[in-house]
């Protein structure tokens, strides 16, 4: 046995030239494609930068910034929205501490978004220094919550209760206000708008449609023909039409049903319509997940003597949901984008506020492109962040690997 006189070093990682040769020019047609694409990209970037620097006039965005964020919410009462955000950040941090990997990617994404928003290098009137500090403070709260959750290891049940209380507090007390309390002036939902409403509708829609979707999915798999028929009909009917028709139709139907003179909150109408719409798609996603659970599991559970209810609760649903989470996040993203359609109910969510801003000054008619690009950017950033988190979550859960 002879020891090698010199240890062989592993080959050095390929340098830049090698990488270019292998990835961009490995075949002749790849080389051509690379050159053409590079030219295309350079031309496009050049035009975009030129426009951005020279021609674009961002006045509608900088002057009406707060409107885009919270709509017509009275600007001296915006601290309540801030408080709600702070509560959410704190609870999210605690959830991260307890939930660990499940929540990690989302928490980090949200923290990054808040930090980015705080550090926008552009001078915007409404984005004052205290505001920026507040946003950074929210990131800090997130982190503090994380530490707290890790240290205390509170039971998951307490956390769920805390979330429920927090949501009830935000939706029923903080945002709308109570007339009797001086500090909490009333703010009717017709004034809520902008990104605030978009987020409320999207998050509320997904969260509320989850239980309904589960019921519908189970109903569709049921062996009772009436239940199965009803669930299938409901799902197929809702999925067969665009969301905009459901919104409009729901509003019409409601107007017929309600007694003359009553006011059914418009935001609530939109939320219900979106929930119903989302429930149908959620049901289909869950059905896919249910089908992914190996039948052997159910048979084994039956052999052990569980009845149907417990089988669903402890065996089927947990496994199904793990498979279904990527699809659910995808649905959240498309729901988030679809909230633009509530314009038809007269609700000024982000795109609706954009419309109002364009019409607020005769000179803004020529600045439509800037407004739409800004709105597109907000949607894009949030949607991309969500889908990035979802991918990280999939990796953490090991979906597709086991």
């Amino acid at each position: 046995m002879s020891t090698p006189t010199e240890t062989l070093r592993p080959p050095a990682p390929p340098g830049l030239i090698t990488w270019i040769r292998e990835n961009l020019f490995n075949t002749w047609y790849n080389g051509v494609i690379t050159v053409l694409t590079l030219l295309l990209i350079i031309a496009a970037i050049n035009t975009a930068v030129q426009w951005f620097i020279n021609i674009a006039d961002w006045r509608p965005v900088t002057e009406y910034f707060l409107l885009f964020l919270v709509g017509q919410y009275p600007q001296d009462l915006v601290w309540r929205v801030g408080l709600s955000l702070a509560i959410v950040c704190l609870l999210f941090g605690v959830s991260w501490g307890i939930g660990g990997e499940l929540i990690q990617s989302f928490a980090i994404t949200i923290a990054t978004l808040l930090a980015l928003a705080a550090l926008i290098p552009v001078q915007i009137d409404d984005l004052t220094l205290p505001f920026r500090v507040f946003l950074l403070g929210c990131v800090l709260l997130l982190y503090l919550g994380f530490i707290f959750g890790r240290k205390k290891r509170i039971l998951g049940l307490y956390l769920v209760i805390a979330w429920l209380i927090a949501i009830a507090l935000i939706i029923f007390v903080l945002l709308p206000g109570i007339s009797s309390v001086n500090l909490l002036q009333e703010v009717p939902t017709t004034l809520w708008g902008g990104l605030l409403v978009t987020l409320i509708l999207a998050v509320g829609g997904i969260v509320l449609s989850f239980p309904i979707g589960i019921l519908l999915a189970l109903g569709r798999r049921s062996s009772l023909p009436v239940v199965k028929g009803f669930s299938t009909a409901f799902i197929e009917l809702i999925r067969g039409v665009p969301l905009i028709t459901i919104l409009f139709m729901f509003s019409l139907i409601l107007q017929v049903f309600l007694p003359v003179g009553s006011r059914f909150d418009r935001l609530l109408r939109a939320l219900i319509a979106i929930t119903v719409f989302s429930a149908a798609y959620m049901a289909e996603n869950i059905r896919g997940g249910l089908a992914a659970v190996p039948h052997g599991q159910i048979e084994a559970a039956k052999a052990v003597g569980m009845n149907a209810f417990y089988i669903n609760l402890f065996i089927v649903l947990p496994q199904a949901i793990r498979v279904v989470i990527p699809a659910i996040v995808g649905q959240f993203i498309s729901l988030f984008k679809d909230t633009t359609l509530v314009i038809i109910l007269g609700i000024n969510e982000l795109l609706g506020i954009g419309r109002s801003v364009i019409n607020a000054d005769p000179e803004f008619i020529q600045l439509q492109l800037e407004v739409y690009l800004f709105i597109a950017a907000i949607f894009w950033i949030i949607s991309y962040a969500m889908s990035y988190s979802s991918r990280k979550l999939e990796q953490a859960l090991g979906v597709g690997e086991r």
Partner: protein, 351 residues
């Protein structure tokens, strides 16, 4: 599984039934009675007004997010008259398709949304009070196109907003003259005007007040001209739901008071001094003497004075948004001037 579904469905159906039971009492005779709206306004503590947030001059937003505009000020005047506080209003943004049903179901107390008073709307939607703005539908073309009449527009491309009487009037006007035209119809007014400005259309049509507003925002306002033709009458009138005569009268009298105030020289600034004026009509208007109807209407004697103090008289409201120094744009009063100055604004006396 079956038990769970059974329980679930029973619960859902019960819930649905409860919801419908609370919500729908649709079997009883469902029209509002006299006094119903005033009562609910007082109970609620604010007036609910259907309006717009995206129409420059009439209903739009300032950079703090407040609702401002000609139509909005009318709502504030009513709130001031009824509740004493012009800020006790809630503006519900309504789309064109929604304004009819919103008024029909009395979801809003007043519809102050730049709506044209027509006979069919009067029969379907609600009661129309008193014309606050006499508008007409006209055309805007480029000056260098040389067009001066509709007859010269055969075959032209015209940009128009969807879903309003504007489309219909356009079609009628061309059909009557046996002319073809090519319509570009958009949902949003901003799209209409940018399409026109970029040259996608030869002409655009809308209420002349809109055209004036928009023209000011163009890159070259003087390159465009609003033709002196009017193809239809557009009396913009606030509406109230059917069935409550008292509320109908209340809104009307507020409008009348603003017009009378301008005639009599009462302004937002001098309301308090004018209460001791020598002119009997002024004192009656401001509730110092006589009963102008407030007792039957359930209002305070000085309700109209409160309204005028809150928003000003008709001319002041007009000038605020559309006068020579108007916030939105400037449009000569023409038809919207007082009858004594050659316009059509005329109101019955307050006495």
């Amino acid at each position: 599984m079956s038990k769970k579904i059974l329980i679930a469905f029973t619960l859902i159906s019960l819930f649905a039934l409860m919801l419908a039971a609370c919500g729908g009492g649709g079997d009883e005779g469902e029209t509002l009675g006299r006094g119903a709206i005033l009562n609910r306004v007082k109970e609620r503590g604010k007036v609910v007004c259907g309006g717009r947030t995206d129409l420059l001059g009439f209903g739009y937003l300032d950079d703090a997010g407040n609702n401002i505009g000609f139509d909005i000020d009318l709502c504030r005047a009513v709130a001031a008259a009824v509740l004493g506080d012009p800020n006790a209003v809630e503006i519900v943004p309504l789309t064109a398709a929604d304004r009819g049903p919103a008024l029909q179901t009395a979801e809003v107390d007043i519809l102050s949304r730049n709506a044209t008073w027509t006979s069919s709307r009067d029969s379907q939607w609600g009661n129309f009070t008193s014309v606050t703005f006499y508008d007409g539908q006209g055309f805007m073309v480029r000056k260098d196109s040389g067009i001066t009449t509709i007859e010269e527009m055969g075959g032209a491309t015209v940009c128009v907003t969807s879903g309003t009487t504007t489309e219909k009037n356009l079609a009628d006007a061309f059909r009557q003259r046996n002319l073809d035209f090519d319509a570009k119809i958009f949902e949003e007014t901003a799209s209409v005007y940018s399409a026109y400005e970029e040259g996608q259309c030869d002409a655009t049509t809308s209420d002349k007040s809109h055209l004036a507003a928009v023209r000011q925002g163009f890159a070259e306002p003087d390159a465009h001209v609003i033709l002196p033709i009017t193809i239809s009458k557009e009396p913009l009138t606030p509406g109230v739901p059917h069935g409550d005569d008292q509320w109908f009268d209340i809104v009307k009298v507020v409008i009348y008071s603003m017009v009378n105030a301008e005639e009599l020289g009462v302004t937002q600034a001098n309301v308090d001094q004018m209460k001791s004026s020598d002119n009997i009509s002024v004192r009656r208007l401001l509730g110092q003497e006589g009963d102008w109807g407030y007792s039957d209407l359930g209002l305070e004697a000085e309700a109209l004075a409160a309204a005028i103090k809150a928003v000003g008289n008709y001319g002041e409201v007009y000038d605020r948004y559309m006068g020579p120094n108007g916030m939105a744009f400037s449009l000569p009063r023409d038809l919207n001037n007082l009858w004594s100055e050659g316009g059509l604004i005329y109101a019955p006396p307050i006495k």
